[in-house]
């Protein structure tokens, strides 16, 4: 059965999200909202030093405070762990990883590193007791600068003897020296350095955890504001030595993650270990400042990129050198983030096998980094899209024209890229043409002629960004080749209940994406029922025991496809029952609109509802057929999915103040077939704003001693609705040939495309003043300084 045969027209509708009423009215229950009688509250004392030896920890005064049950130092809990905090992605065999425990023992390595903790009968008693813990620190020199870290002038972790974690290469040459020769022969070349500042994910819901030991049987239920309940279960079992079958992980309503909740955190392990130790439930909720310090940060790279091109500006080679900032320790997938971008530094452009990528990652005395919306791919897209603008200036052609000259031709899809990966489908010219029409690209260029005259203080700029996103993580064998510690499949169960209501069990773990709505639409389309008759069960390992959770824009193109496949299995089984009842050959039955019909005899029909009841009573099933209508699928995708598109941004820069006003933002995204265009638009809006925030507003700032200066939302500038433009979305639809739904991911596309579009627009506006680059975030002060420097301090 294929979708197009039997469409009931549910797919593709802009259905309102069924999740939203509860979220909007405050009825949704987040982890911190759960009533848990008798719970003890955990509070964590965090190092105020970026690097310090812990000389002694005196917990006695704190332990005697009212309401305090227990106080532990890192050393006190050293025996509690069966293993250190997990890193699931040892990217190279010789990768260095310092031992990392939920509470530091001996040495604290970033401001926010847990040093001791309190259990008390109230959150305020626990917080008050932190002030009474007496820690003697011997402050040590901190390493903040990445190149300084690389020099090993100061080695952070004695046990590994170097700040270098790994070097990972992706060198593709037909023969040795091809890349060098391409650069030597290039008609044009550019060499640029870009800094990806650190970002704080700042999910709306701060992290929260509650561990509840069951009084009999030794089982433990761990509630967490996580996007990976299944991975968390495995890792918690391993780290604490809890038998996995005795651990249940539940992610209640989760208010955003953006990758920051794709992790295994100290507080999750502390709550579980202390609940086990005390026999009482233990809960913890992060404050915003703790979140800024001790939830992972994103980005943090120095990128050196070189492009070589022929006389027409067509790319002949790309060379990239990265320094990745791991922060103080490796969290769950920290080292893999640069690798997720490694394949994309040639963007959507045709390139011979002259590609040379190398990344060296270093430890610093800052919060650990890890996956943050786009993870590696926004960084890669930024570098190639900024460098393409530099190349366009070099060649002397319009940036859009240069891109068109280099686009992978539509006719060559599926396209085997220089890295050996196969891009499933694409039509870059179509997306770029639509975006150019929407923003009136030619008209803007004409306006610039009259507006950006000498002496003008309001300058107009337009920025273009085209992208490919390698997402839908991922074919398990490809993950294996990258040394990732798990697979990339997804599981689904579809169960038709006796009354023809349908339960779907998914291994995805939505935290704002609207899976309940989208998955019910897929099932409605496949089974010919109303979406209202479909319930989606998820994020509880007792109900949905198998899954690999939600990240990497994988849920629809892996998890959603698994559901469609499970529906097919259910329909196949139902068809046998219907055929038996109708005394027909199963091959002669057609299924559409929720009804089985004998081909050519329209009066011989049986609705799915009747089949479901027959399957339940099992009074008259074909011989050998098991009762009930239920099927399970585990789907391992044969390829990534490759969404693409073109974004364009129009800005006006006030050269007196350096202020950037985004006048218009046009996003044309192609994610293949759309299950629910309303959700697609929502993902694009949120993604674009997050990317625009990197371009204009956000940066985790550290001083030279490693103090985080943006520890509250007054200093860390997450833009609000009033600070961002309306986003004009357009779509082209190029279905993916690799899955039956023809879908690709859309969760990260906006973030991937938007950052370079905004910066390209600013640089375009200021190019007449000699500005070639503006560092991120392009704050007014930064833009003003860039103008000043370009003008030789004349401004």
């Amino acid at each position: 059965m294929t979708m197009t045969d039997d469409t009931t027209g549910v797919l593709g509708q802009r259905m309102l999200r069924r999740e939203d009423p509860a979220l909007l009215t405050g009825e949704a229950k987040y982890t911190a909202d759960l009533p848990i009688p008798g719970a003890l509250h955990l509070a964590v004392l965090r190092s105020p030093y970026a690097r310090a030896r812990i000389v002694s920890v005196d917990t006695s005064a704190a332990a005697s405070m009212p309401g305090v049950t227990a106080v532990f130092s890192g050393a006190d809990l050293a025996e509690a762990w069966a293993g250190p905090m997990p890193c699931a992605w040892p990217v190279t065999d010789d990768m260095k990883s310092p031992t990392h425990y939920p509470l530091a023992v001996g040495q604290a390595n970033y401001v926010g590193d847990g040093v001791a903790c309190v259990l008390a009968t109230s959150a305020s008693a626990a917080r008050d007791a932190l002030d009474a813990i007496d820690v003697e620190y011997e402050p040590l020199e901190a390493v903040i600068d990445l190149e300084d870290a690389l020099s090993d002038r100061v080695v952070i972790h004695d046990e590994i003897g170097t700040n270098r974690s790994y070097t990972w290469d992706l060198k593709i040459e037909e023969s040795e020296g091809d890349v060098d020769r391409a650069f030597a022969d290039a008609a044009y070349s550019v060499k640029e350095r870009y800094i990806q500042q650190r970002l704080i994910p700042a999910a709306m819901e701060p992290r929260a955890v509650a561990a509840i030991p069951q009084p009999f049987g030794g089982d433990m239920t761990l509630y967490s504001s996580t996007q990976v309940p299944h991975i968390l279960k495995v890792m918690t079992a391993l780290t604490l030595g809890i038998p996995e079958h005795q651990l249940r992980v539940v992610a209640p309503a989760v208010g955003g993650g953006f990758g920051s909740k794709l992790n295994v955190y100290a507080e999750e392990l502390l709550c579980a270990a202390l609940a086990q130790r005390t026999g009482s439930p233990v809960r913890w909720a992060e404050t915003r400042s703790e979140g800024n310090q001790a939830t992972i940060h994103g980005r943090g790279q120095i990128q050196d990129i070189e492009l070589a091109a022929d006389a027409d500006g067509r790319l002949t080679a790309v060379r990239v050198r990265l320094i990745g900032d791991m922060g103080a320790y490796l969290q769950l997938v920290t080292p893999g983030v640069p690798l997720l971008g490694a394949f994309l530094y040639a963007g959507v452009y045709e390139l011979p096998k002259t590609y040379d990528f190398s990344c060296t990652s270093v430890f610093t005395n800052m919060t650990p980094t890890d996956a943050y919306r786009g993870a590696g791919r926004p960084e890669a897209t930024y570098a190639i899209e900024r460098a393409m603008d530099s190349l366009a200036a070099e060649v002397g052609v319009d940036p859009l024209e240069l891109r068109r000259r280099n686009f992978i031709p539509t006719a060559s899809y599926p396209y085997e890229a220089m890295t050996g990966l196969v891009y499933d489908s694409g039509d870059h010219d179509k997306a770029a043409t639509l975006a150019a029409e929407m923003i009136d690209y030619a008209g803007v260029r004409a306006r610039q002629e009259t507006q950006n005259v000498p002496g003008a203080t309001k300058r107009l700029g337009i920025g273009v960004s085209t992208y490919f996103e390698m997402c839908g993580l991922a074919p398990s064998r490809v993950l294996a080749s990258l040394n990732y510690g798990a697979g990339g499949w997804e599981a689904a169960t579809v169960r038709v209940l006796p009354t023809n209501k349908i339960q779907v069990v998914t291994g995805t773990a939505p935290h704002g994406q609207g899976h309940e709505t989208a998955w019910s639409m897929i099932v409605a389309e496949k089974m010919g029922v109303s979406p209202d008759d479909v319930d989606v069960l998820h994020s509880d390992t007792a109900i949905a025991p198998l899954g690999l959770d939600t990240y990497g824009s994988r849920s629809l193109s892996v998890g959603g496809v698994a559901i469609a496949m499970a529906c097919d299995k259910v329909v196949d089984k139902a068809k046998q029952i219907a055929a038996h009842q109708l005394e027909a050959n199963p091959d002669d039955l057609e299924f559409s609109g929720g009804e089985f019909r004998v081909a050519g005899s329209p009066d011989r029909a049986m609705p799915l509802a009747a089949v479901a009841f027959e399957a339940f009573t099992a009074h008259n099933l074909p011989d050998g057929l098991e009762p009930n209508l239920e099927a399970h699928t585990t789907y391992d995708p044969p390829n990534f999915s490759w969404p693409f598109g073109t974004h364009m941004c129009l800005v006006e820069v006030d050269t007196e103040t350096g202020e950037v006003e985004v006048l218009r933002y046009v996003a044309v995204d192609d994610c293949g077939n759309q299950v629910n265009p309303l959700i697609v638009d929502g993902q694009v809006h949120g993604g674009v704003i997050q990317g625009l925030a990197q371009a204009l507003y956000e940066e985790a700032v550290y001083d030279a001693d490693g103090n985080l200066q943006t520890s509250t939302l007054a200093e860390y500038l997450v833009p609000a609705a009033s600070d961002v433009p309306s986003i004009e979305t357009g779509h082209t639809i190029t279905p993916s040939p690799t899955n039956q739904l023809g879908v690709k991911g859309i969760g990260e596309a906006g973030t991937i495309a938007s950052t370079p579009a905004v910066i390209n627009a600013i640089v375009d506006a200021l190019s007449g003043l000699g500005v070639r680059d503006v560092p991120m975030p392009a704050s007014p002060n930064t833009v003003w300084r860039a103008i000043n420097e370009a003008q030789g301090g004349q401004q």
């Binding site: 103040t657 202020e659 500038l717 609000a720 704050s779």
Partner: protein, 274 residues
């Protein structure tokens, strides 16, 4: 974010509030809208042991004409200042500036008295009332006194108020049809100003107050002298930072702040010129 433990008492009148503060001594603090004090308490930067809540002293929330001045009760919320017809007619600069404080939530809770008493040089209303030549009325155990805005601000978060004194009223001269402009420069709409300029002009007379350009709000009297001396807006604005002593922070270096003060002052003078 959990503040340190504290006690809470609610005062029904200014006199009662002053009494209570007197009883509890140095560690007690007035609580008005709570939008500066409570965030500081949650970060444990402030740890008062007693809060004397004056938020419900209703007879200190008013805006009325009093001769050639407008009298504003210290407990008047920013949004009432913003929307006051009396101020719209007589002191539009202040009403407009109040509309730029924070976001709607902040403006519905925060009070003009709290904003001035808090003496944050980055706040909008201290510099605005300074430019307007306002007088503040303080009540203490020994009665009331008037303090000129120009004498009120001593440094970061410190003012002429004694710990047991309460700000009760703000008296602002009517603007008499003067042109005015409020230039607030920030990165996000709800933020404090990186630099702000409040200015009014009537003929060759003018007043210019600077936000976030020193440890106190700044009266840019050199600009006023230059304007009185017939200088153009651009030339007068060159003197904008003469009385200032700005600091660097995450949003602005010192030289950028000085530059912004000049640009914004020029714009304010151009916009407020007859």
């Amino acid at each position: 974010m959990i503040p340190a433990a504290f006690d809470y008492v609610r005062a029904g009148s200014a006199a009662e509030a002053i009494d209570l503060i007197g009883q509890y001594g140095d560690e007690a603090k007035f609580l008005a809208g709570g939008h500066s004090l409570v965030p500081a308490m949650k970060l444990r930067l402030a740890q008062p042991t007693v809060l004397v809540d004056i938020g419900r002293v209703a007879d200190l929330s008013y805006i009325r004409e009093d001769g050639d001045q407008i009298a504003i009760g210290a407990l008047t919320r920013h949004m009432d200042v913003e929307n006051s017809p009396v101020l719209a007619e007589h002191v539009p600069l202040l009403a407009h500036a109040a509309g730029h404080v924070g976001d709607p939530q902040v403006r519905h809770r925060g009070t003009i008295g709290g904003s001035l008493a808090h003496a944050d040089p980055a706040s909008d209303l201290p510099a605005t009332t300074l430019a307007l030549g306002a007088t503040y009325v303080a009540q203490g155990p020994n009665g009331t006194r008037e303090i000129a805005a120009a004498d009120f601000y001593h440094g970061y978060f410190t003012s002429a108020l004694a710990p047991d004194e309460m700000l009760t009223e703000i008296r602002v001269p009517k603007m008499g049809g003067a042109g005015w402009s409020f230039q607030k420069f920030n990165r996000r709409a709800q933020d404090w100003a990186i630099v702000g300029v409040a200015a009014w002009q009537r003929g060759s007379e003018c007043g210019v107050g600077l936000v976030n350009m020193a440890s106190t709000p700044v009266l840019a009297s050199s600009v006023a002298s230059a304007v009185a001396g017939g200088a153009s807006a651009a030339d007068a604005a060159e003197a904008a930072a003469a009385e200032a002593d700005p600091q660097a922070d995450l949003n602005a270096s010192v030289d950028y702040r000085v530059h912004l003060a000049k640009v914004l002052t020029r714009r304010a003078l151009e916009a407020s010129a007859g």
